[in-house]
């Protein structure tokens, strides 16, 4: 029996698809890394500025001038310590959202530059996964860059106790979650409404994300304590607190992992669907 061209084509298609997708995804990632290298200066400024000012004002200036925000003495030291997790957490979520959502706005813009990537021989889910991983890589880099800042700048000593297994699981999981959040936002928000990203998503997430206080401290405002549970940053920060500090209260780790995994899975599905809707009609 002779083989028709169709048989050959389908055999080739099946053979190609099995592992070639990961190669394509890797190539797309290497493109993002090349762009990141090219813009490294701007990336660093973007990553460093917010946490630098934040830590500088709250943990250096305020204790020195006797401003009571973080308390004084031992209290101030405690505040510097609990802020470490918050500032690293903000950087993780914020950098991934910026790294994924903002370029998408250009790619979906009037030139439809997205087609350059959409025509790469990979299914839409592969493209979505690549964008999420790219965001995750950039948020990991942000966490690494920010960490020394929160250790070295505060005027009062920072007391850290590393729980490595927790740290090495919470951070990558948070990074992937943040990348998926970035892709979700980037595919949901119309290109002409970008400032909305900051007003309705970034600001509420950061201000109500247990950055400046542990979640448990919200007990006096019970409704808020429950309402903020829809904020994924809560779990990132509580998890980081568990990984980095002793003595600062944090949510039970079981709940933290459960919520991080659940948020990640939901956002993976929602963002992939969002990307498909924006590319395929």
């Amino acid at each position: 029996m002779t083989m028709t061209a169709t048989d050959r084509a389908s055999i080739r298609a099946a053979h190609v698809s099995k592992w070639a997708y990961s190669k394509v995804i890797f190539a797309l990632l290497s493109r993002d890394v090349a762009v990141l290298k090219k813009n490294l200066k701007f990336f660093l400024i973007r990553v460093i500025m917010q946490p630098l000012l934040f830590v500088f004002v709250f943990t250096y200036v305020f204790p020195k001038i006797g401003q009571g925000v973080g308390g004084s003495g031992a209290k101030a030291s405690e505040f510097s310590t609990l802020l470490v997790a918050g500032v690293v957490g903000i950087s993780i979520i914020f950098q991934a959202v910026q790294a994924v959502a903002l370029p998408l706005v250009q790619e979906f813009g009037y030139t439809k530059e997205i087609e350059d990537r959409a025509l790469a021989p990979v299914p839409i889910w592969g493209l979505a996964l690549e964008k999420i991983l790219s965001g995750a890589i950039q948020s990991l880099l942000a966490a690494i860059v920010v960490f020394p800042i929160v250790l070295l700048i505060p005027a009062t000593p920072v007391h850290l106790h590393f729980d490595w297994p927790v740290l090495l699981t919470i951070v990558p999981l948070s990074a992937v979650l943040s990348g998926a959040l970035g892709l979700t936002i980037g595919t949901l928000i119309p290109p002409n409404q970008v400032p909305l990203i900051f007003a309705i998503i970034v600001l509420p997430i950061t201000f109500l994300g247990a950055v400046y206080y542990p979640w448990a401290a919200l007990t006096p405002i019970e409704w808020l304590k429950i309402a903020v549970l829809i904020n994924p940053l809560i779990y990132i920060n509580e998890g980081l607190r568990a990984a980095l500090t002793h003595g600062v209260p944090h949510m039970a780790l079981g709940y933290v992992y459960l919520a991080l995994v659940a948020f990640t899975l939901v956002l993976l599905v929602v963002s992939t669907k969002g990307l498909r809707r924006r590319i395929v009609s």
């Binding site: 169709t6 084509a9 698809s17 797309l28 370029p103 087609e115 350059d116 990979v122 009609s281």
Partner: protein
Amino acid sequence: MTGVTGVFALEARQLTKRYSQTVLAVDHLDLAVQKGEIFGLLGPNGAGKTTTGGMLTTRIVPTSGNAFIGGIDVVAHPAEAKREIGVVPQTNTLDRSLSVEQNLYFHGRYFGYSRNEAKTRASQLLEQFKLSERSSAPVAALSGGMAQRLMMARAVFHQPTVLILDEPTSGLDPQSRLAFWDVLRELHSSGQTVLLTTHYMEEADQLCERLAIMDHGRILAIGSPSELKSGIKSGSILTVEVSGEVLGLTEQLRKELKDSSVDSVTASANGMVIIGDEASKLISPVVRIAEASGHSVLNLKVEEPSLETVFISLTGRELRE
């Protein structure tokens, strides 16, 4: 995937896209492009050419029907089908974060070329498309013609079965257009199969070996440009612009010109289209009859057979309205 013989580089069967109850963008389209052929889809804006291109390039999911490229079912296996196509879209979709050379290099990487292979092929294509001098420039610095050439180089990088060009010259100046035609002819002589959508009759006439004339999502005629032109029964077309209501007048002309080898008289947007053996001989009777019935003749044009007249004879409308 039954019944695909492998003779065709591209095949569409009953391909249909319905956007809503009232909008049928592409209506049961049948199409077969042979290997090595330059095939054109000619039609006015809104004829369904771009939607057809979108379905063939996996961006638009057909409502029904199938399309195969290089024997691969585009709907069932979009990721694999993307290996078989090279696409030059209407707008500049180059990667603005990368340089000219990097646009080609990373395209090669997406399509499975090793670092060295991608570098080599990129510089070879930069040479071929006369972009070597701009290789490290940002793509935003390219002129329209250069951006077009870079998109062509990107599209043929992975040696696709079919090169799909959507209105490739619509934004170009006349000189760049001619240069682009040369590039396309060169690719064709090296055996590249091309599907070209255009609303420029001259482009279709000059470049395409076969073409399909499309309107309202359907193919009205298919053949080589000369077959299509000789396919109109009559020799030429007389378009007449008159004042006032033309429906009565067309009826009257049909009656009175019955014996003067006239094939058809149809009302158009602001006048009539008369198709006949020798339209120039119809000028005086048409003017006489029109004026006798109280119309003034405002404009009058005789056209020899061209793809434009083929389109008019098929639709009663001009291509560029």
